[in-house]
């Protein structure tokens, strides 16, 4: 079953009378339980494609479905609802809410979904344990290292059990060792919890760990490769 169905996605930006093509007709399908990387150099359209899949940006043409919901006709409020219930986000710069502790950041998504206090707390504690931060739950983001903050961001992304987690260069701000650990942790979550991940990267270490690679160059899919479980 496809969680993501992107069909002939085009995206062009107008700037100073010039038209710049970021995506030139991309077809991508991601199945449930996949651990897929969008690979390519800077400017290849990885982030643009992730933004369109995540309902943060609209394609110039083409259609996009997330968990069988067509995003094209949806307004801002409905898109916010889709992002809340079906998608988990991990950003390059962690982007936690600075005034909330680690557990409050994780709980935040459940709170928006209207989950009750006790269940919210239990699920958040459980997820923070899974990402190895059970002893850091009451720390605020500035009291955590970059790697720890990104783990909290992953915990926030998976706590509501979304259809897919989108991660935009999640290891870009981390050193090699911490990035590798984070990547392994995400893959473990994929294997053990069957959480679907789609992330962008240009880091060979991350690409090595992906089960499926979609190579993008100049806004087009140039190659796809699948790898078996290591």
């Amino acid at each position: 079953m496809n969680i993501i169905e992107a069909d002939k996605i085009k995206k062009t930006y107008e700037s100073n009378g010039l038209s710049v093509t970021a995506l030139g007709g991309v077809d991508v399908a991601v199945k449930k339980g996949e651990f897929t990387a969008l690979a390519g150099p800077s400017g290849s359209g990885k982030t643009t494609l992730l933004n369109i899949i995540g309902g943060l940006d609209a394609p110039t043409s083409g259609s996009i479905k997330v968990d069988n919901v067509d995003l094209a006709p949806l307004k801002a409020k409905a898109l916010a609802e889709i992002r809340l219930t079906k998608i988990g986000f991990v950003f390059q710069a962690y982007n936690l809410i600075p005034v909330l502790t680690a557990i409050e950041n994780v709980e935040y998504v459940l709170l928006l979904q209207g989950v009750g206090k006790k269940e919210r707390r239990d699920r958040s504690v459980n997820v923070l344990e899974q990402v190895g931060l059970s002893d850091q739950v009451n720390r605020r983001p500035h009291e955590l290292s970059g790697g720890q903050q990104q783990r909290v961001a992953v915990a926030r992304a998976i706590v509501s059990e979304p259809a897919i987690v989108l991660a935009d260069e999640p290891t870009a701000n981390l050193d090699q060792k911490t990035g590798a650990k984070l990547c392994d942790m995400m893959r473990d979550l994929n294997e053990q919890k069957h959480i679907t991940f789609l992330f962008s990267t240009h880091d060979s270490m991350v690409m090595e760990r992906a089960r499926r690679l979609i190579h993008l160059i100049d806004g087009k899919v140039v190659k796809e490769e699948s790898k078996g479980k290591k």
Partner: protein
Amino acid sequence: MKTFFMIGWRNLWRNKRRSLVVISSVALGIFAMLFSMGFMNGMNRQMVENTISTSLGHVSIHYKGFLDDMKLEKSFVPSTSLLDRLESIQGLAFAPRVKMEGMIRSSEASRGVMIIGIDPEREKSVTKIFDYTKKNEKSAYLSDPGRHDILISQTLAEKLDLLTGDKLVLMVKGHDKEIVGMAFRIKGLFQSPLDSFDKFVVFTGITALQEIVGIKDRISEIVIRTPHRDLVDEIAVRIKTFIKTPGVTAMTWKEMAPGLMKAVILFDNMMYIFFAIIFTTVVFSIANTLIMAIMERFREIGVMKSIGTRPSWIGAMVMFESINLGIAGMIAGILMTMIVVIPLSFSGIDFSFYAESMRDWGTGNVIYPVMKTRDLIVCGIIVLTTTIAAAIYPAIKAARIKPLDALHHV
């Protein structure tokens, strides 16, 4: 919503100095508002109380139209049943009076005055003329209502070049329309807080005045003091039911001095306009702070929206930040006011150096500020309205932030 309130509160303390500056400005605004309100309440209360205490009383029984035209024809004999029923109301004090316009003459000058004939003992429980009278070896309060003694103010004595013990001639129009004159000895001098009162009013014994004008036991009015000022309207209604003499009615001090009531209302309204101006500047101060805070957190708000926070919740968060600022400022302002106003409400603020003007206002030299629950409620409403008004534009701006623009924001 609780979480957004909490986020709003914590956001407030991310830039402590900036928030404290805004909280201080709100607190100072509240302090200025409550202190001036308290001061004005004190002035108004003393102005009203002094007017009641010097002449009006809380309620007066007299002929309809008597206050506009104080003729002897508008005098009446109070029925025994009326007096008995007044006596029966617990805590109520009353005193009969003969009140008329006339003239006093000294060897130096003459002056038009209001002459009030009083029962000295009964008057003590109704007005403060006894308290205002100087008591020393030369000056004393009236003792016998039948003696030809008179109390005049210190101001009038100076103007007519008179001293206690001196004689003056009192001239009035008698019941038979003839002008009658009679010598009176100045028994004492008084000084009330009302300059206009002192310049215009003299007191004699009621019996002496009744004899001179030939009205026997007729009186002009019965002045009443109720146990509490709040009971005035209720008691006036009751008293009206006791009155059987046609044409005679009971009026409250508010009805007798409508100008005073209007002045009090005008002062209150002026204060509210003054506060509206103060808090208009507070609105801009808060709005400016919120816009700065939002621009600083542009990316963060974008992330919140990216992960599914609805625009309305972002707007609510900004609104709570503003309300938190306002409430913190209000609490600080109320505490400041209490620390300053409560001691002053006992000690008073002495304006003796400004005594002449204070006498013109009729407030007395020492003002005792009064804090009212109504003012605290108004203060709460103003703060809430101000902070909500200040947050409207920033909240809309924050709610409209596009997540993608914010994520690209550096």
